[in-house]
Each structure stands twice: as C-alpha cells, then as structure tokens.
C-alpha cells in the first residue's frame, strides 16, 4: 500500500508546485496588465505559449487538471455573459438592435469568413474565424469606457447596445457552429442546426418568460447554496447541451440568461471570482495548444484581419451611434471603442481546435486577439485625434 500512496503523493506534490507556479506567474501578469490599463488576456496567451508544448518550460503532470479547468472556464465565461444583461435589456436590444446588429455582422463576420476561405481552410474553420473577428470584447470595452470616464458620453448607449446584440447573436451563432463542427454530411448538418436552433429558441423563450420563477426559488438560499446551485446548474445544463450536440457553452449562456432580478446580481458577484480563476486557466490552456513556431506565420493574416475588421467596427460604431444622433466625433469614438476583441474570440476559436485547419485557426485567433486587445483600447483613447482631423477637411466642402 505504502508505495502507491507515496507515488500518488509525489505526483500530487508535483501538480501542486506546477499549478502554484503558473498561478503566480498569471498573478504577476494580471497586475502588469492592470498597470498598463489593458486586459490580461493577451498576457495569459503569451504565458501559455511559453509554458506549452514547444515553449520554454513544458509542464506535464497537471495538464489533465488544466484541461478540465479550461472547459469549466469556457462555461463560466458564457454564464457571466448571460448574466450581464437583464431580460428587459435583452428585449430592448432585440427591438432596437436590428439595423446596427446586421451592419455589425456584415462588416465583421464576413471578412473573417472570407479570409478563412481565401487561406484555403475547411468551411467550419472559416465560419469560426468569422466569429472570432465578429464579437467585440464586452470585458475590455466596459473597462475602457469606465477607465476613460466615458460612460456618460452621448455615444456610449450605442456601444453598449451593439454589445447586447452581439450577446444575443451568440445564442444563434454558437449552436450553428456546434452543429457545423459535429456534422458530417450537408443534410445531417442542416438537421442538427435546425434542431439546435429550435431547442435554443424554446429554452430562450422559457428562460425569458419563466426565468423569474427559478430565480425567485434560488434567491431564497444563502450565498453558499446559491453559488453551488448556479455552478451546478451551469455544468449540468452545459453537459446536457453537449450531449445533444448543441455545445456546452450555449447551455451555460442560457442558464445566465434565465437568471433575473436580485438573484442575477448576487450570482454575478459570487461567480465572478470563480470565473476569473477558471478563465485564466482556459486562456492558458488555449495557448498550450498553439505551437509558438506557427505564431509568426499567423501574424500577417491576423494583421490584415485587424485592419479590415477595425474598419468594420468603425462602420458598426458609425451606424449605431448615428442612429442615436451622435456627431462625427462620437460616431468615430463608438467605432474605435468597439475594435477590441478578447475573451469570446478565444472561446469561439477553441471550439474548432480539433478541426481540420483548427491549429491554424487557433494561432491566427491568438495573434488577432493579441493585436486587437492592445491596439483597440489605444485607438479608443485617441479616437478624437482621428475625428478632429476629419471635419476640418469636410466642412469647407459643404455649402452653408
């Protein structure tokens, strides 16, 4: 007996040391990122590249733990995305967001898809690249808006509305992608997409109509009970959704949407620290799967995508803020603020990591997020300089 215990003990000891060291490295990076005023996601990705296969320090024993932790991280990221907005805000988003949402999708999803196809990737991988370039980072953007004291600005509601619409668009996009990833023949894929969308539609309707009943039930429990209940529900629904081939992520997202009222606020506060922990593991694990040698090759496509979809987001912001009656400066600020991509681009790319061309998708997505998460907030900060340069050229041309 004793030798076995000793062997297991030694393995656990190694795992603890590895995980502990990784967490400390991430802590230093998170601190550095907050000092620089940007999101920690790109730093976590770089750390993952350094620690993964082909990196400077290869970790071994704790990889299983990291893999499961990463999956939980995805679920918690989507859960908090669902928790972000009240059902009232989502309904308003649905009613008013048609035009800006469509413009946003065309300007930002289509370029990613096209670049994927041009690179000669399999269709599912190209669709995923479209998603990577489409969804702005609500985490980065809300931080930028509050750091720059811009929450009260005239164009800010339009920025937040675009985020709400993208949030809702994920509810359609994720099941479609999950079916594309799982399906083999065209007919089979179409059927899976159909089933997935109907299921999501029903669950979404149930969540928005009767979510308050479940929320009221959950709200009676103390914090400990609530945390465990929400965590349990998220994993349970996520797992069931995965079994139905709808993707675990969308299940977690729907749980978040279904929670409303006071319990939504409490759950958000309770889940956030847990999400930060597991999300960090997820970003790290995502980067583990990328071969650092492939990254330089991914830089050029990522840079091209950043330019095209940077202009795309400027277009989205221009349209969305214009509908609220913002001026030229406001419209440009709105677009520049929306450029930052982050956590959800990585989540989307991770769905395809096992696909044909999935490895390339992973490295392009990583490079793209590295660039846009750094460039986006900088452009948002200096958007007025760009805007100030424009009207001076235009005004004399206009009569009156």
């Amino acid at each position: 007996m004793t030798p076995i215990v000793a062997a297991v003990g030694a393995e656990i000891a190694t795992a603890f040391v590895e995980i502990g060291l990784i967490a400390l490295v991430l802590a230093i990076l998170a601190r550095l990122a907050s000092r620089l005023g940007i999101t920690a996601v790109p730093f976590f990705l770089i750390a993952g590249l350094g620690l993964g296969e082909g990196g400077v320090a290869d970790i071994g024993v704790s990889e299983d733990f990291v893999a499961v932790g990463a999956e939980i991280g995805v679920l918690l990221l989507l859960l908090t995305l669902g928790l972000e907005y009240s059902s009232e805000e989502l309904r308003t988003g649905l009613k008013t967001g048609g035009v800006p949402g469509t413009v946003d999708a065309i300007f930002n999803f289509v370029p990613g898809l096209v670049v994927g196809v041009v690179l000669g990737w399999a269709f599912p991988a190209a669709v995923l690249l479209g998603g990577v370039t489409w969804i702005s980072s609500s985490g980065v953007i809300s931080k930028v808006l509050s750091d720059l004291d811009r929450l009260g600005y005239g164009e800010t509601p339009s920025i937040l509305n675009v985020l709400v619409i993208e949030d809702l668009a994920m509810a359609v996009y994720l099941p479609v992608v999950a079916a594309l990833v799982a399906g083999s023949s065209a007919l089979q894929t179409a059927t899976t997409v159909g089933v997935a969308l109907v299921t999501v539609g029903i669950v979404l309707w149930l969540a928005m109509s009767y979510g308050h009943v479940m929320s009221a039930q959950l709200d009676r429990g103390n914090n400990e009970a609530l945390l465990l209940a929400v965590f349990g529900l998220t994993l349970l629904v996520g797992g069931l959704a995965q079994k139905l081939q709808i993707s675990a992520a969308i299940g977690a997202f729907l749980v978040g949407l279904a929670l409303s009222g006071p319990v939504q606020k409490r759950a958000r506060a309770l889940i956030e620290p847990l999400r930060d922990l597991f999300a960090a593991i997820f970003f790290l694990f995502f980067a583990f799967q990328i071969n650092p040698e492939e990254l330089p090759g991914a830089l050029l496509p990522a840079l091209i995508l950043l330019v095209i979809t940077g202009l795309g987001k400027l277009g989205s912001g221009w349209v969305a803020a214009g509908r609220l009656g913002s001026g030229v400066n406001g419209r440009i600020r709105a677009g520049a603020t929306l450029i930052a991509r982050g956590e959800f681009s990585i989540v989307i790319a991770s769905l395809g990591i096992g696909l044909a061309d999935g490895a390339q998708l992973g490295s392009v997505a990583a490079a793209y997020v590295l660039l846009s998460a750094v460039v986006g907030p900088l452009l948002a900060k200096h958007a007025d300089r760009v805007a100030d340069a424009l009207p001076r050229k235009r005004v004399p041309a206009r009569p009156g």
Partner: protein, 160 residues
C-alpha cells in the same frame, strides 16, 4: 419642471440628463450599485463630457443635501431597479383633468389598480406618502408605484 431625459445603459445602469437654464447639458450616470457619475457636456462636441465627477453613494447624498433636493425620486429609482416588474412613473395632472380637486380616495386608485401613490410633488413642495384624503390639484405630479398596466390605468383615471 425641467425635462429630464432618461437613457438606459445596458449592463451599467441608467443615464439621466437635462439642460440648465444657461444652456449647459448636465448628466448623471446612476450605476446599478448606486454609485453616481456627474458630468458636464462639451459645447463643441455634445457627445463628449468635459468634466466627469465620480461620486460614491455617500458623496451623492452629501451633494444632494447641499443642493437641497428631495430624496423621494432617488429612493424610488433604486426600488424600481431592484424589483423586476415594478414600475414607477411621474403622472402630472393637466389643467383640464377632471380629477383636479378630488382626493386620492375618490379615485379608489389602490383598490382598482393596485397602484400606490407614494408622493405628490406640488411646485417646490413634496408630500410624501399622501393618505386617501389628500386632494390632488391641477399641475400636481403624482409619483405612482405598481405594475406597468396598473400605472397606465391610473394615468387614465387621472386624465379622465
């Protein structure tokens, strides 16, 4: 009363703004947690804020006391944000309203609609928690709390 514009900020809270008598645009962002941001808009770029002041809940109370406002609106706003399905509305009696001169009890408002009139604003004065015998006058603003359909009924009663 100055017109206050209300804009929802999904995921953040709500923004309220108005134009001062000298033409400056002033806004307040009320965060979900109760923190406030007070801002003055730029004249050249009306979307931009030239000044932003971060106020904790306590700071906001202090500023409110100095400015001498009533707390009714603020308390009711907080309640409205916390309880889903509960609406708060400010209903002003027009000059032609047939309800002017009647008491709240006359309208049997709570019995018929389930809506409570929690305050009545008359000029600079606020009457908090008015009883059924309170007489409403033309120009009064009643602060009503209840379900949105209930409040719509009250609006109809007051305008009848």
């Amino acid at each position: 009363m100055t017109e206050i514009q209300e804009v929802q900020l999904p995921g953040v809270g709500v923004r309220l703004d108005f134009t001062t008598s000298l033409g400056e645009r002033v806004g307040v962002v009320v965060h979900r947690g109760g923190r406030r941001e007070l801002m003055v808009y730029d004249r050249d770029d009306p979307d931009r804020c030239s000044t932003v002041l971060q106020l904790s809940v306590e700071d906001a109370h202090t500023l409110n006391d100095i400015l001498g406002g009533s707390r009714v609106a603020e308390v009711t706003t907080t309640v409205g944000q916390e309880i889903e399905g509960l609406a708060i509305d400010w209903l002003t009696l027009s000059g032609e309203s047939g309800f002017a001169g009647k008491t709240i009890g006359d309208g049997m408002i709570r019995t018929r609609t389930g809506v409570s009139i929690v305050a009545v604003l008359r000029g600079e004065t606020t009457f908090a928690a008015p009883g059924p015998s309170f007489t409403l006058e033309a120009g009064d603003t009643a602060v009503a709390v209840g379900t949105p359909p209930g409040i719509a009924e009250v609006r109809a009663i007051l305008e009848a």
